[in-house]
């Protein structure tokens, strides 16, 4: 029975068609490192500066950057050619400019990191804050203290792209293909008029549901694994290798604010796990809708709306407090993963601050269990009218 | 009017569905009889010009129907074996739509829709949504659809499947009424349907026309070949192996069976007068025998 259910899903040509096109989009997408990074000049400078940065190093970089800036300004005045925004410089200068400015901005991150700690310290003392707020500040401060000083000068573009893939393309492509692939699972039995045959059999009311869910999971697993393997392969092809995965997560531009003490590859593993969980939850939602609506297209639209609307709100910048709650606890946020980790967010639960990712994941565990129950319940009690 | 079928064949990827089929049809009711998968539907689709023959051609009064295009479809009524309906239409709306597809003008369509609804006895339900129709009602609506344009050539594929006996009689009478000046081709598995109305019967097997004659002639051909005898339970399976056994009926004195055979199957067998069912057995059970 399981095999046949898989067969129904995996023989749909339209899925392969869509998947291949998406992969094609991924391949033709521009990207890769800027040419300057590949030059020897940059590489030698990079080797020199790579690693955690001390105060003196940062000051030195700032100083050198200033010198460079001055020289460029002078040259600009001399040429008086307004057309040229970046005057022609030697590769050496370009590389140096890049390295020093990166180091300088890291210096600023370190400063603001320290500032943030001090502010939190203030907040924990509780002179101007409520009890809960100081509790929250204490939690954040503890996390930051555990983190130590995470920043350093590393080239993390390759990892950055790989991780970014999760919250942009993997999010969209996975969601769409799951919705596309699973909306007909129950609905098609109606449109093919085989539902009455199935339901009148011995296993037609419970076991069939289990097998259908299992087959759907198989589909999600294969989709998920294939997509991420393809992505990693593409990144490796673009950048050569994934370097510096063992440095703290905060060295990725998107996660500068993150309070979590994780290395990059640890985060990647966790993010993959969460996204996989999210895929399963979305899969269950689609299956449920497929039973209720009895129509593949309707399922597609409704699940699209359920998943997409909060995302749309965010993109359009609609942020009333209530809408914000809806957005934060939406399927899309879970699927994108990034929002769980890129900054400190906590919610009060019985007057204790609970971290957003913990809350979100437990919420969706409950949702998943509930959906599962509803799927069985709904299917068992459904009548066939036509 | 003369519909000539000239050696048409239809080959699907892995299957020869119709093999060099030739026939000439004039006004009257023709019945197409054959076991499942004999190629009846395929043949009718080609006659309705919705499927192209792999080879051969079909002529109406010496004109190739595939060239006649909508002139042919204008005089054609076709009921497919399986079809769907727009579920949220009612009967009137559905038929009006098809009337417009068949090129009837509005005024004429209105009266004609009422007429065909009456012909298939659906006036009472004409305002109900089609999703609430029963299986037989849907079939009757399909028949109504085929009759809309008062077709000169009517091709109906298993029109009586799912109809109750009363409606079957009504349909039979309808066909004999209108068959005077048109060609009607129907396929069926219910042999009694054609007993009174078919001018000729075409027997089809594995895509070939194996016999074509009137019902009387067919009955004649199995005259003296149908036997009735009563046997013991134990002897039954042996008999079934060596003879074409029709009806089996449990009686007090054992089992009464009907056998179609060229020779007298057993001494106590009585010759009885044949029915079309026996004809069917005679021609098509052979296949099963040969295959063994």
């Amino acid at each position: 029975m399981y095999k046949q259910e898989c067969y129904k899903i995996f023989t749909r040509k339209s899925l392969y068609f869509a998947f291949l096109l998406f992969v094609l989009f991924m391949v033709i997408l521009p990207g890769g490192s800027t040419p300057i990074i590949q030059t020897d000049e940059y590489q030698t400078l990079y080797e020199e500066w790579r690693g955690p940065l001390s105060r003196t190093e940062i000051d030195l970089a700032n100083q050198k950057l200033e010198e460079l800036q001055n020289r460029i300004d002078q040259e600009m005045e001399q040429t008086e050619d307004l057309e040229v925004v970046f005057p022609p410089q030697s590769i050496e200068e370009q590389a140096a400019f890049r390295v020093y400015s990166s180091v300088a901005s890291i210096g600023r991150y370190i400063d603001s990191f320290q500032q943030r700690k001090e502010d939190l310290q203030e907040a924990t003392r509780g002179s101007t804050t409520t009890a809960y707020e100081s509790e929250e500040a204490r939690l954040e401060l503890n996390m930051l203290n555990e983190l130590g000083q995470p920043f350093g000068f590393y080239n993390t573009t390759a990892w950055g792209n790989t991780v970014d893939f999760i919250n942009v393309f993997a999010f969209i492509i996975l969601t769409i293909l799951i919705v596309l692939g699973l909306s007909p699972v129950f609905a098609d039995e109606h449109s093919q008029k085989s539902i009455s045959l199935i339901r009148s059999t011995k296993h037609g009311k419970r076991k069939i549901v289990t097998t259908k869910i299992l087959a759907s999971c198989t589909y999600i697993v294969s989709l998920f694994v294939t997509l991420h393997i393809i992505n990693v392969a593409l990144e490796v092809r673009k950048f050569g290798a994934l370097m510096d995965g063992t440095v703290p997560l905060q060295n990725l531009f998107l996660f500068i604010q993150s309070p979590f003490s994780l290395t990059i590859w640890q985060y990647y593993a966790i993010a993959l796990g969460i996204q996989f969980f999210a895929s399963l939850v979305i899969g269950l939602l689609v299956l449920f809708l497929s039973i209720v609506t009895r129509n593949g297209m309707l399922t597609f639209f409704i699940s699209g709306a359920v998943i997409g609307t909060p995302f749309l709100f965010r993109q359009l910048g609609i942020d009333q407090p209530f809408i914000q709650y809806v957005t934060q606890f939406s399927y899309a946020e879970l699927m994108r993963v990034k929002g769980l980790f890129d900054q400190f967010v906590a919610f009060p639960l019985f007057d204790q601050p609970v971290l957003y990712p913990v809350l979100l994941i437990s919420t969706f565990l409950l949702v998943a269990i509930l959906t599962m129950y509803l799927i069985y319940h709904q299917y068992k009690n459904q009548q066939i009218m036509n | 009017m003369r519909l000539t079928i000239e050696k048409i064949s239809k080959t699907f990827k892995d299957k020869q569905a119709v093999t060099t089929f030739s026939a000439e049809l004039t006004e009257g009711v023709y019945a197409l009889l054959g076991p499942n998968g004999a190629g009846k539907t395929t043949l009718m689709r080609m006659l309705a010009d919705i499927m192209k023959p792999s080879s051969g051609r079909i002529l109406l009064d010496d004109k190739d129907i595939s060239l006649m295009g909508d002139h042919y479809r204008d005089i054609l009524g076709y009921l497919p074996q399986e079809f769907g309906l727009y579920k949220n239409f009612n009967a009137i709306r559905f038929l009006s739509y098809f009337a417009s597809l068949k090129g009837l003008d509005k005024e004429k369509a209105k009266t004609r829709v009422e007429e065909v609804l009456k012909l298939v006895n659906l006036q009472k339900d004409r305002k109900r949504k089609l999703r609430t129709y029963s299986g037989g009602m849907k079939r009757r609506l399909g028949i109504a659809q085929a009759l809309l344009n008062d077709p000169k050539i009517l091709i109906v594929d298993e029109p009586t499947a799912g109809l109750d006996p009363q409606e079957r009689v009504r349909f039979r009478n309808l066909l004999s009424e209108i068959a005077g000046d048109r060609i009607v081709l129907l396929s069926t598995h219910i042999v009694t349907d054609i007993e009174y109305i078919a001018k000729e019967v075409l027997l089809m097997r594995q895509g070939e026309l194996i016999q074509r004659s009137t019902i009387e002639k067919l009955l004649e051909s199995v005259e003296e070949k149908v036997w009735k005898c009563s046997v013991e339970q134990g002897a039954l399976s042996q008999l079934q192996k060596s003879y074409k056994v029709g009806n089996i009926q449990r009686a007090e004195s054992g089992i009464e069976i009907r056998i179609v055979s060229d020779v007298k199957p057993m001494p106590n067998a009585l010759s009885v007068s044949p029915t079309l069912e026996d004809v069917y057995l005679y021609f098509f059970e052979k296949e099963a025998e040969e295959n063994v």
């Binding site: 096109l21 297209m297 | 689709r45 919705i50 190739d64």
Partner: protein, 283 residues
Amino acid sequence: MKIKMNRFNQTDETDIDELDDSFDEKEYEALEQELTHYLVKFPDENKIDATVDTLRQYVPDRTTKSVSIRERSFALIKRAKTEVTIVSKTYWIASTFLFFIGYLIANQTNTDPILTLIFLAPLPFIFGLSEVFKGREHGLFEMELACKFSAHEIILSRLFLIGIYNLTLNTVLTLVLSPVTGKPLIEMILTWFTPFTFFVAIGLWLSMKFKGQIFVTTLLSLWLVFIVIFVINNHWMVAFLNIHYILHLVFLTAGFLLVGLQLIQFTKKYQTFEGGTRVEINY
């Protein structure tokens, strides 16, 4: 020998020598002998005449045909009027509503109106395609084929209807939004029209391959991903929005050609019923 020379007269000497070796002289003679046994008799006059007569009906009649094509198109357009009632009300309402939302989004929020326009442009058409193939999806295809207005004509007239409706909606939205963008009208129209034509072509192609519900959802997904990628890659978008007129026209022409090609395919495909040749279609 001569035959061989003729056949290979393009190749140079050495090649021919080589080939000569591989052919057996005797085999040839045997073949020649055998062939002389077959005599082709000249058919008698009557037979030729009969053949010509039967074939005559297959010769296309050029003058009448071109006229009938024009008449046909008129008939199709007229037919579209009847089809209005067949296309479900939900479709008309939903598409209009969608454009209304689009107007609100473009007007109220800080999204680029042109982008909204590009995004919305083909949506009514995509939804509409499922209405176009209603007959096919509901299992009426066989019956429609046997009608005077055959299935492909029904499909074409519905396509016409949907297309006109879609274009109307787009134009209205363009007109309404043009004060917001401050761009010349013609440029705005070109901007959505070019991707629109391409997308219509792809949509038509897909609709022949997959059954209704599936191709609508697949098409929609493709469109969505395409737009997202477009938005993410800002410089692609900028490049596209600043394309030169001429290039636009070239692309537009290409788009039209593609659509035309698909339409021809359509008429060919839906003239006969070949069960099982279409993918993922079941009643």
